[in-house]
Symmetry: D2
Subunit: 358 residues, 4 copies
């Protein structure tokens, strides 16, 4: 088990879906930061189940409690612990799958690795684990915003509905204006239809999230093994359902020639800029001051209400009959999680970068 | 700077392109492994510049020397240090770019981050740094092969030439039969043409590598932050020119519904298998015993012989006139590097997994 | 801030003296261990304030709650989080020292390092922080006891009262028979008098703890930088009031010649033993199967009720008038803390040692 | 194996006594430091065998080569690798002990832990491993001296000859004036006699080193687990023959009452000082601006020329007949090693401390 993320700004998390609570500890939060608990709760609310017609009906308030690390609302440099109680659990929903390995779930691998598995609500492999990431990311945000850094993610595709616009053409302040978190209203409606359609078929659907980091200073990232893109990729692939990650020109860039792909430097009022940004704001593993942007692919939710063949612990053929409450598409609620992980990467990179020069 | 990779099996590297040597230290190599130096050299030869008509003409022998960690050819459990001398350097080739920020290179970001930069041959950001990765990977291979694990990568696209076959349809023993390292001869020829064409235009071209890990046991990967895919992605994005990574169904999987995407479990002569493998051999961040496969996107080489506008340290407009010797496409020589990084991830995961149970 | 301890078996802690709670997360607890909550509580009770006439009268129940990581009382391999509420706080006792730097306390250094300090009850630098260590150690014990390992510490001196017997002459089962935790009744009485006398003078007194680890297998410790003695020393010096550490022959061994000091090997019914144990059970940084023993020096409690001159935040001369409730000697309650830290070192060393050989 | 030390400023070492070379890599050296190779060599010369009549006659030049990380003599922020060739090896001296477990050596524990052991010259457990520490420490010094920090160690006792003066009464510039590295000439002579006497008896003798750090700023050390004293203790106990460590009042402080032991704060021309320094310059795990001082105990060299009974790999009774060349007392040559380890702790603490505040 490796339940810590980050080197200087470091989140350690705990908790199972149907246990007492989920939460974590942020170690390395710099001292002197105003800890806005409302802001943290607000981020959690964006991740909250039951928030709309296209998410799981599991209704949890997910009220966060901070347990340490502040005095009079200011961070003291000591670890900030937090927890969120689990309240709306239907553990009995899972009785019938205690011995069953659900397809494309962690049931089989956890059982084989640990010899024991908490089957209730997916245990540790539940998406409930991401609550701690959102809180960690919110704390990171309180630090990074002092640098003028903003990190915003949005749903850029659901199933076969794609947002065919570059982030520069979108108003990112509109992301939370609709329940699917796509800043283009027209596309958002189609996405919602796509998800609703999947759900009505007792099925699920995948999608993609685009994330944009603006205002990052030059110099973030630690070559050669902790290049900024490597840390961002690590962060994103640690999220449950992620299957792909690309930044800047990404996979499409492989078709280009260097003469087209290279980002030409120029000076704009004394500031070094590039005319294009195929580099995605990162060169040589280090941020170059341009926008950092990347795309994350999410698979369709593994839990579906359609009956499926599978096997049980005794390796006998059985069929799944899932009763739990699940998201037909993880993407809308994953938006704040992608942002949170990116925030923690950037906060950590800022702190590491302070140790670079004599 | 973060020049170490891995937690238990841990490689630390050093060296600039035009310095005395490049090399590294592998700490955590288990004791009792026969260290086949010929095998290590053979892997390095696969990465060696000047190996074919489509790679850089820089001709380095890249002869590895092991400095410690073995007795009578057997690993003793102590660190294995190694170095490779730099011999065929034309540092003067770089005099004219000492003050110039080459487009899409690390020149600008290194200068800003460190306040100083070794411009000769790209210094630390040179692809020569990957020599140490190949040696580290070769050492890892000597360990993982005891488990029957094999890791093989191949070129699956160059520019617009794509290998439209699944890895299961290919004979992976043919990978090294041609200079572009594509196991399909017909496609290989087209890829070579694509690279030759780019080079003849003083230009460069991108491409993709597919990697397949067979024989991995169930249980590798450490949720929730060190999921196996997160470690693999981290490893791949630490390689210079990588812009994208996907495993299993990847980006294409986002278009699917769960009922189609889910991998159905069944029992095959007592062994748990899945009928499809959209999971790419990993479920819940842990290997499930199926083949692990992933795809890596490489951008076109930033260094091209075409003249380009850019700026210098004084932020004045200048033009690049590159004299160095470079690969028109990094992909063929990146194949052993992708394999090496994957080998180290797997070796480390095996060792970490030993600590799981009471 | 660095609030994590251990590499594989890893405790991360949080909490201030007068905050909501203190607690932590143990990551890396192997799966399949019966988690005996009564045992954990029992260890906490040994550390509990208000337990006897020679400890602080602050009366805290220190009831531990486990929040995650177990199913049906068995560890699942996921992180085990726990917390202990702070209930008996008299924060107003500290109002008068909010701006005062108490002599030999962390007040001044925390203020300078972090720019802010939680003055209530010492904040993070309070001995209350050790609650999490005791819980972490109790969890480690549940693992190490499976190997037949026992770790027992006892008070071996208080002020000028020393226990002039080797640990081999003592019955370590008697340690908890008296309130000072010295297994020799006669000496224990003198120690209690020494502490009582200091307290009656509104003063405090130092002392030493001896710790003995029996049953440790050969092979624990990771040269060259994580030698077993280095990990034990690190662990002990991370405890607040510790000023010295020696193992085996320790400081006294510096007076000896090699011919006297060397531990001669022999075979005892097939088992390799040494005739003496000046090595303290560790050779070359690795346990050799003999008893591991060491001694830890604790300074007199810095907080005393005698008025002392000092300065305040404004660097003005002031006098301390301490109202808080404090131990006149930290040693009796530090016994379970020393054991706990040693337990975590050994648990971690066992897990690391599993990765040594091919 | 754990062959890395430090978190940000991080040394990784390699090499066996009779292998090709010993050396290491320093990762995290800040950029912009003038790398004075003569200074590094000078520190190595202080550690060099064969330097005087009271050290081993093994005569090694120990010439260091830097392999990377600098340009025009300035650190670039990339890893600095270095190696020192092994030249004066008499491996055949060790043929007769290939199968023998020398008393109080690492022979037995290495064999048991790794299943294989390089017996030639002690292999990895040889004191030759400390060469890399001295180079790492010299590099750290080039950084820390910019802060006005000085670290000086000296021999404070050999066998029964003790230097009965406080460091404040000594002229630390005289340390290297004699071969035993004691700044008091009279005591130095007695120490040399003590060592000579032991050697003439084919025996060895232990001793102590005192180390003083002046000029350290307030704020170094990372509570609660990486208190400055914990990092220093870890560093010292990672040195082969160390058996004890105490800082400030140390073991003697356990006899004192708080009213005597507490260090009273006062202001001296605007600077916060303490009237006494029982705290050894560290309060709450953080440096307070006063001198940091500590004492390290070294056991007598295990290798002696007197014949001793022991066992061999087959667990048969045998007798040792040592032919190798060894120091009768490790202390004089350990002085630069103690300084080097302390330098690395301080360099790392400075860099970590930069991440404390918003």
């Amino acid at each position: 088990m490796s339940n810590s993320f980050g080197k200087i700004f470091r989140l350690t998390t705990f908790g199972e879906s149907h246990g007492v609570a989920v939460g974590g500890i942020v170690d390395g939060m710099p001292s002197g930061i105003a800890i806005d608990e409302d802001f943290i709760q607000q981020q959690l609310n964006r991740r909250r189940p039951g928030q709309s017609s296209i998410t799981t009906p599991r209704d949890e308030k997910d009220k966060v409690s901070l347990l340490s690390g502040t005095m009079n609302g200011i961070s003291t440099g000591t670890p900030i612990a937090f927890s969120v109680s689990n309240t709306n659990q239907h553990s009995s929903d899972y009785d019938n799958i205690a011995d069953i390995f659900r397809p494309s779930h962690a049931d089989y691998t956890y059982t084989e690795k640990y010899g024991i598995r908490d089957h209730r609500g997916g245990g540790r492999s539940s998406a409930r684990e991401t609550i701690a990431r959102v809180v960690g990311g919110a704390l990171a945000t309180l630090f990074t915003q002092k640098y003028g850094i903003r990190i915003r993610a949005y749903t850029s595709s659901v199933g076969n509905v794609s947002l065919n616009k570059d982030y520069t053409e979108l108003n990112l302040d509109n992301i939370d204006n609709n329940i699917v978190r796509c800043p283009d209203e027209e596309t958002a409606k189609q996405m919602i239809d796509e998800i609703t359609n999947a759900r009505n078929n007792l099925d699920s659907i995948g999608g993609m999230i685009t994330c944009v980091i603006t205002g990052a200073p030059v110099g973030l990232g630690e070559p050669c093994f902790d290049k900024l893109q490597a840390l961002l990729a690590h962060a994103m692939f640690s999220i449950g359902a992620v299957k792909g990650f690309e930044y800047g020109s990404g996979f499409a860039g492989t078709h280009l020639r260097g003469s087209v792909h290279n980002d030409i430097f120029y000076t704009d009022n004394g500031r070094v800029r590039t005319r294009t940004n195929n580099s995605g704001g990162i060169q040589g593993g280090i941020s170059n001051g341009e926008d950092i942007y990347f795309r994350v692919a999410f698979k369709p939710t593994a839990t579906i209400l359609v009956e499926q063949p599978t096997i049980n612990k005794q390796h006998e053929d059985v069929r799944t009959i899932v009763k739990g409450r699940h998201d037909p598409c993880v993407v809308p609620r994953a938006v704040p999680i992608v942002e949170a992980m990116a925030q923690m990467v950037i906060a950590d990179a800022i702190l590491q970068n302070r140790t670079t020069r004599a």
